[in-house]
C-alpha cells in the first residue's frame, strides 16, 4: 500500500515535470499568468520619435550625411570642452588613441582602440550628447561628428562620407577581439 502510494506520487510528479518541459518547449503562453491586457495599441509610425536606437547592422539610422571636415567645427563648439582637443580626453572620456595598448597594464579604451561598432557612436551621441543638451543634434550633425571621431582615430579618411549606408560598413579596428560570453539556454523558455 505504502509502496504503491509512493509510486503514484512519483508518477504524478513525473507528470508535472513532463508537463513543465513540454510547455517550455512548445511556447511561452502556457507558463505566463494572465494579465488584464491594458496595453494601448500604438503604431510603429507613431512611436518613431521614441525609436532612437541603432543596431550594428545600421537598422534605425536616419537619412542624412556628414564628413570629418564638417564635423571638426561642430566638435570645437559642442564637444571639446569635455573631451579635449581632438578627442584627447579630460575632463571626460578620451575618444582618440590608445590603439595597441589593450595588452598593457593600463589599457587605454577609446573609440579607436576599443569600440567594436561604429553604429554605437552614432546611437550614443544621438541619445546622450552633448551632455547638457542630449537629442538636440540633427542627423547631418550626428553623421559629421561620428565621421570626425572615426577620422581622428585613423579609421576613415577626412573626406569619407558617413551616412546610413556607409557607417554600418566601417570595420572598427578592435572588432574581432570581442567574444560573447552569453549562450542561449539549452531548454529555452520559448
Amino acid at each position: 500500500m505504502f509502496t504503491s502510494e509512493r509510486g503514484a506520487a512519483r508518477a504524478l510528479l513525473a507528470g508535472f515535470v513532463a508537463l513543465g518541459w513540454v510547455s517550455c518547449a512548445s511556447g511561452q503562453s502556457a507558463r505566463v499568468p494572465e494579465g488584464p491586457k491594458l496595453g494601448v495599441p500604438v503604431t510603429e509610425a507613431d512611436a518613431a520619435s521614441w525609436n532612437i536606437s541603432v543596431g550594428p547592422d545600421g537598422a534605425g539610422l536616419p537619412p542624412g550625411k556628414g564628413t570629418a571636415a564638417t564635423g571638426a567645427a561642430l566638435y570645437q563648439a559642442k564637444c571639446l570642452a569635455c573631451h579635449g582637443e581632438k578627442g584627447a580626453g579630460k575632463p571626460s572620456d578620451q575618444l582618440v588613441g590608445g590603439q595597441g595598448t589593450l595588452r598593457d597594464a593600463n589599457a587605454v579604451r577609446t573609440v579607436g582602440s576599443y569600440w567594436p561598432y561604429a553604429t554605437t557612436l552614432f546611437d550614443y551621441i544621438r541619445r546622450a550628447m552633448p551632455y547638457v543638451a542630449p537629442q538636440s543634434l540633427t542627423p547631418d550633425e550626428l553623421y559629421s561628428l561620428s565621421a570626425y571621431i572615426l577620422y581622428l582615430n585613423g579609421v576613415i579618411g577626412e573626406n569619407d562620407e558617413m551616412n546610413a549606408s556607409t557607417l554600418p560598413k566601417v570595420k572598427m579596428p578592435n572588432r574581432d577581439n570581442f567574444v560573447s560570453a552569453y549562450s542561449e539556454p539549452k531548454h529555452p523558455t520559448r
Partner: protein, 423 residues
Amino acid sequence: MTSDTQRHELEPVAGNGLLHRRLFLTQGAAAGAALLTARAAGAAPLDVPASMKTPGVPPSAYGERSPHEARVQRIAQSAAPSLGTGSSRTPLESLEGVITPSSLHFERHHNGVPDLDPATHQVLIHGLVERPLLFSIDALSRYPLVSRIQFLECAGNSAGNNAPEPPQQSAGGIHGLLSCSDWTGVPLAVLLDEAGLKPEGRWILAEGADAAGMSRSVPIAKALDDAILALYQNGERLRPSNGYPVRLFLPGYEGNMNVKWLRRIKVTAGPTMTKDETSKYSDLGLDGRSKLFTFPMDVKSVITSPSGGQKMQGPGLYQISGVAWSGFGKVRRVDVSADGGKTWTQAALTEPVLSKSLVRFRSPWRWSGGPSVLMSRAVDESGAVQPTRAALIAARGTNYRYHYNAIQSWKVSEAGEIGNVYV
C-alpha cells in the same frame, strides 16, 4: 545546556580565536560574562531619564530616522562638469540584516535623476511583436505583481581593489555599489505575451527616460524568466534615484542592465550593441580580447563588522558580521578566517537564505588583542567558490575592471585599527 557543551563551544574552532558559529545561538550569556566590571563604590545613583518626565512628540505622516543616526550617509562621488554622472555607495559597515533602506540604496546615474510624472509616463513595447503597446503606470499597477527580496550590484563594484595598493576605505567605500531590497513589479513575460512576441525576437533593448537614454540589451530568455518591471521598493513606490516610477529588474544580473526610468522595450533579433554593453561593461582580459555579455554577478562576500576604518574596543568577544550573495542562486556556505586564510571555520547563515539575495552571516570571535587578518569566503549552490585576489588577478589581470569578486581581507592591528590589506 550542559557545561561540557558550553566549554566545547568556547574552544576555538579555527586559528586566532574563531569560535563555533553556534555560540551566540546557544548561550551567549556565559561567554560574555567574563569581564564584568563593577561600578565604582560611591558612584551617583542612576538618573531617571528626562524622556520619562516629559511627553514625547506626536505621530508623523512620514518617518525620519533618529538625528543621532545622521552620520550614516551614502558615500557620493561625481565631478564637474558632468555632475549627474556619478555614484553613491551604500554604507555597508553601518547596516545590519539584509534589507538596504531605500534612502541608502546605492546610485549610479549617467546624466542625473529625471523628475518623472507617473500620470504621464508611459512604457512602450514594440519591435518584433505583433502589437506594439503603450502602458501607463496606472495600468501596470493593475497587473499581477510579484515580490522578491534580491540584491542589486553594479558590475564595477569593488574595482578599487584592482589597484596595486589597497585603498584605505570603509566596506561601503569599496563594496557599497551593492544593495538589497524587496522589489515588487509586473513580470515582463506577461507584457511581452500581451504584445505577442514574434519568433525571431531573441533580445530586447531596454531604454530609460533619463538624459542619457540609458540602454542595454537583454536576452529574451532572461526577459521571459524572472525579469520584472519594478514599481515598488521595500513596500513603497520606487525612489526617484532608483528609477521612479518604473525600472527593469533582472535578478542576479549586473546593475547597469536594470534600466531605471524605463520608457521603452524594443524586441530585436540581436543585441543592439549599445555604448554601455560594448565600450564600458565588457571585460578586457590579459590577451587583449574582451568578453561581451557577462551578465550574472559572481559569488561574493564581505565582512562588514569589524571592517575598514572601524576600531576594536579592546580584546574580548566580538561578532564577525557580513553579507554574501551570488547572481547564480543561493549562497550555500560562508567560511571565515581570523589568521589571513591559514585556517577557516563555517559562519552561521541567517535564515531565510534566498536566491540572488544578500544573506547575513555571523561568526563569534575572541580577539586576543594581537594582529589579525579577517577574511570571508562564500560558496554558492552552483559550487562556485569566491577566489582569492591573487588568483583572480592572475587569471584575468586588472584591465578586466568589472565583476571583481575576490575575497576581502581586513587587517586588525594591535592598536585595534582596521584597514584594507591584500593577502
